[in-house]
């Protein structure tokens, strides 16, 4: 039996004005377990707290009920008070007789009656309270960043700057991501390489940062502060620590017909290659799908020309396992496939390209050396049509494209149009738009400049069809403002393809037990207040894996994610919330139902040996809750049929006791 103390607060006249506090204290005195019941002017004051402390000590109280303001106000205060008197802080219950009683009810009899009932419910609950101790777990002071684009690079740099080691895992042979492929950046038009490559060098030279390029995460276990991650380092057949990146092999390799993915297949590279001149790490990689030596054992040219002996045809995939305290997901995006939008003739004509392809065509390091030429015949295009929202803002029932706005297209199209008009004033540029969306600092000004200073034709309407005819592209479109149907003979059509999360995100989310939305973007812990955290503790989100983002936004989110990681890694130990779910293993069926509703992936199943009453040993599958991960929502407790799953601090029995006390 508990020994319970009840403390009724007057809160000046805030409570005492509509509740007869003396009557409340008196009435609660006779409740089961109550040994002392007092009232006082201000319980939260020093004197009030001292009164509670003394009462706890004098009466050997095992639990207390404070009838006062909302627990959201002073629960923490009274828990500290209890702890100071040697009582477990979770043996405190608050009856909210101010916000939910005295302030909303007018006359004293009604207020008093309700306050007594609320007090009784709290007493009934505290009778079933058990001392709770928050679990503690150590923190591995190392972070993992998955994805080496601008988001991952910035996050890694910021974490390293705070003094914590960081590893970047990147699937491509080099870090840099999509930004490395871009030509200029809006709205300032500085060149992407000029601002990105110094950061790539910083990362490479930072002794806190390790880069695992050409690698992927294959397994994640553990939980916040204690992740264990398996990283697969794919064989690149070149010894990374020996290769100097001189590039001789990439010039001598006889296999010249490999589509160059960095230029989106618009030109070719060799079977041994360095994606681009500023690649980090700047080492060569052999493409096993094209290398004749690896496929048929005949060639070996690269090995012969390599002056340092870095080529290793025998290399195998390697797996390494590392421990991390925090994981940042920065897996980025890709343009969607254009196959469901063939009215734009993407598959029929080389001169219908996506905007990312245009970036490469305009980039000085691209396939045309920065001169804008048509991919089909290398001619200079004179009429260029841009089509906006290709695959963005589609209704889900249309079963093609994405429902969301891809966010970045309006701005990069304005940039493309402006750059083209600037460099080739003899070119006519048409942009067909549904809306021009330019929220962002200096963004609308930028777009207006494209229209007003550069004479780009912005037409409100949509292209309905593109048909290749001869060396022209017949574009049929509507002009909704003028109420005309336009027929334009274009030389080049550029499609603003919607962007979607990288394909690697979905399996990664499963490994991390991080939740995703229907579009495969990672879900935030809270859409407004915790935008860079995943609901899964210790997993953070950076960049376009969380939703479409431009570079400034990505960088600021990357910094925010880093600061959250730093905040976590600064701690030596993590103290959990003790009000977590707990499974009674003897009652657990091992049915996996609770696991399905847990938003945090806190529940796992294990086969455990049990000594049965008949002295046999039986292996049973039972649920176990990782207390460091569980946040205590209680979804599992209702999903559990047998009642094996219960929530500490809000047990089935406690809540039913409250129900009973109220309904008595």
């Amino acid at each position: 039996m508990q020994r319970i103390g009840v403390f009724v607060c007057h809160c000046g006249t805030n409570i005492a004005g509509t509740v007869d506090v003396k009557a409340v204290a008196e009435a609660l005195q006779y409740e089961p377990g109550v040994v002392i019941s007092k009232e006082y002017q201000y319980m939260c004051s020093q004197a009030g707290q001292d009164l509670i402390k003394e009462a706890i000590k004098e009466n050997n109280l095992t639990g207390i009920v404070v009838c006062s303001c909302s627990p959201r106000m002073h629960e923490a205060t009274f828990r500290k008070t209890a702890a100071a008197a040697g009582l477990n802080p979770y043996m405190v219950e608050i009856a909210n007789i101010r916000e939910q009683c005295s302030w909303v009810h007018k006359d004293i009899p009604t207020g008093t009656e309700k306050a007594i009932i609320l007090g009784k419910a709290a007493v009934a609950k505290v009778n079933l309270n058990a001392p709770l101790t928050p679990g503690e777990s150590p923190v591995t002071k190392r972070a993992l960043v998955i994805g080496g684009g601008i988001a991952g690079i910035q996050t890694a740099l910021d974490i390293a700057d705070a003094g914590f080691p960081v590893d970047i895992v990147e699937t491509k042979p080099t870090i840099g991501g999509k930004m490395a492929q871009l030509d200029k950046t809006f709205p300032t038009l500085d060149c992407a390489a000029c601002i990105l490559t110094p950061k790539m060098v910083d990362v490479a030279q930072n002794d806190k940062v390790r880069i695992f390029s050409y690698s992927e995460v294959t397994d994640v276990s553990g939980f916040v502060g204690n992740f264990e991650v398996t990283i697969k380092r794919r064989a690149r057949y070149v010894k990374e620590d020996i290769c100097t990146g001189c590039g001789l092999c990439t010039e001598k390799c006889p296999q010249k017909k490999v589509p160059n993915e960095f230029n989106l297949g618009m030109d070719n590279r060799r079977a041994i290659y360095i994606p681009f001149a500023q690649a980090v790490p700047k080492v060569a990689t052999i493409d096993p799908d094209y290398c004749t030596m690896l496929k048929s054992g005949k060639c070996g040219v690269c090995s012969k020309v390599c002056t340092v002996g870095a080529i290793d045809y025998q290399a195998k995939d390697e797996y390494l396992t590392e421990k991390y305290g925090a994981i940042v997901v920065a897996t980025g995006f890709n343009p969607i496939s254009m196959e469901k939008f063939d009215e734009f003739a993407y598959s029929q004509s080389k001169d219908v390209i996506t905007s990312l392809e245009l970036e490469r065509l305009m980039n000085a390091a691209g396939p045309t050396g920065g001169t804008l030429l048509r991919p089909s015949d290398g001619e200079h295009p004179h009429t260029i049509v841009f089509v906006q929202c290709v695959g963005s803002r589609c209704a889900s029932c249309a079963e093609k494209g994405k429902e969301y706005c891809s966010k970045i297209c309006c701005m990069y199209t304005a940039k493309h149009a402006m750059l083209i008009r600037d460099k080739y004033p003899d070119t006519d540029v048409y942009v067909f738009y549904i809306d021009v969306r330019t929220p962002g600092k200096n963004f609308d000004e930028f777009y207006r400049r494209a229209v007003e200073e550069y004479g780009v034709h912005y037409i409100k309407g949509m292209v309905g069809k593109v048909s290749p005819e001869g060396n022209k592209l017949k574009v049929r479109a509507s002009d909704l403002i003028d109420g005309k149907q336009l027929h334009i003979d274009a030389d080049l059509v550029v499609l603003a393809a919607a962007i979607e999360p990288d394909k690697s995100a979905r399996p990664l989310a499963t490994m991390l037990t991080a939740s995703m939305d229907t579009n495969d973007f990672f879900t935030e812990a809270h859409p407004k207040l915790r935008p860079v955290e995943s609901p899964t503790a210790g997993v953070f989100l950076s960049g376009a894996c969380q939703g479409p983002k431009d570079i400034p936004e990505t960088v600021s989110q990357a910094g925010a994610a880093a600061s959250k990681v730093i905040g976590l890694l600064c701690k030596d130990k993590l103290t959990g919330n003790p009000c977590v779910a707990h499974s009674d293993e003897w009652m657990c069926n091992g049915c996996s139902t609770c696991e399905k509703v847990c938003p945090y992936g806190a529940i796992t199943y294990q086969d455990k040996e049990f000594r049965m009453p008949d002295r046999t040993v039986k292996v049973r599958r039972v649920a176990s809750v990782n207390e460091a991960v569980c946040q205590g929502c209680g979804a599992c407790t209702v999903a559990c049929m047998s009642g094996a799953m219960n929530l500490k601090g809000f047990t089935n029995q406690q809540i039913m006791a409250e129900v009973d006390a109220i309904c008595k």
């Binding site: 959201r72 909210n96 007018k106 812990a525 809270h526 929502c633 809540i655 129900v659 009973d660």
Partner: protein
């Protein structure tokens, strides 16, 4: 308005993060609602087991209302979505058994919606009061 002596007993389960805070806000703004409403704090609306609801009715409650964060705003991301499915099925079953559907309700009340909380409770209390005492679901043995 029908004036009646009869005072219904209402049990309100409120999630800690939104609706309980909404109830506190109603208090801060002195927005009155009948004292017949007694609030039980739960971490999330998804903590409410159908057993609790039936238990309340068994012990003499006349109405039970569950309040949680608006869909999409759950502190635990998905808790109220589970609540929504569970209660949709449970309420439909109670209706199927011939129990007055007005006695059970789910409302989404955010921490900023003190006025909505008070209005909801006023409406719920008068609806349940109009139905009268809960005879169909109450346990005669436990009622004093």
């Amino acid at each position: 308005m029908q004036v009646t002596e009869y005072k219904p007993l209402i049990v309100a389960f409120c999630c800690n993060w939104c609706s309980y805070a909404g109830a506190d806000l109603a208090g801060n703004n002195r927005l009155a609602y009948p004292a017949d409403v007694k609030i039980i704090r739960v971490p999330c609306s998804c903590r409410v087991n159908p057993t609790f609801i039936l238990r309340a009715f068994q012990r003499g409650a006349d109405g039970v209302i569950i309040c949680g964060c608006h869909p999409g705003d759950c502190h635990y991301t998905s808790g109220n979505y589970y609540t929504r499915r569970r209660m949709a099925l449970l309420f439909s079953m109670l209706d199927y058994l011939g129990i007055e559907r007005e006695r059970t309700r789910v409302e989404w009340v955010s921490a900023a919606e003190g006025a909505k909380f008070a209005a909801t409770m006023n409406d719920f209390v008068s609806t349940v009061a109009a139905l009268g005492e809960n005879k169909r679901l109450e346990d005669l043995r436990c009622k004093k």
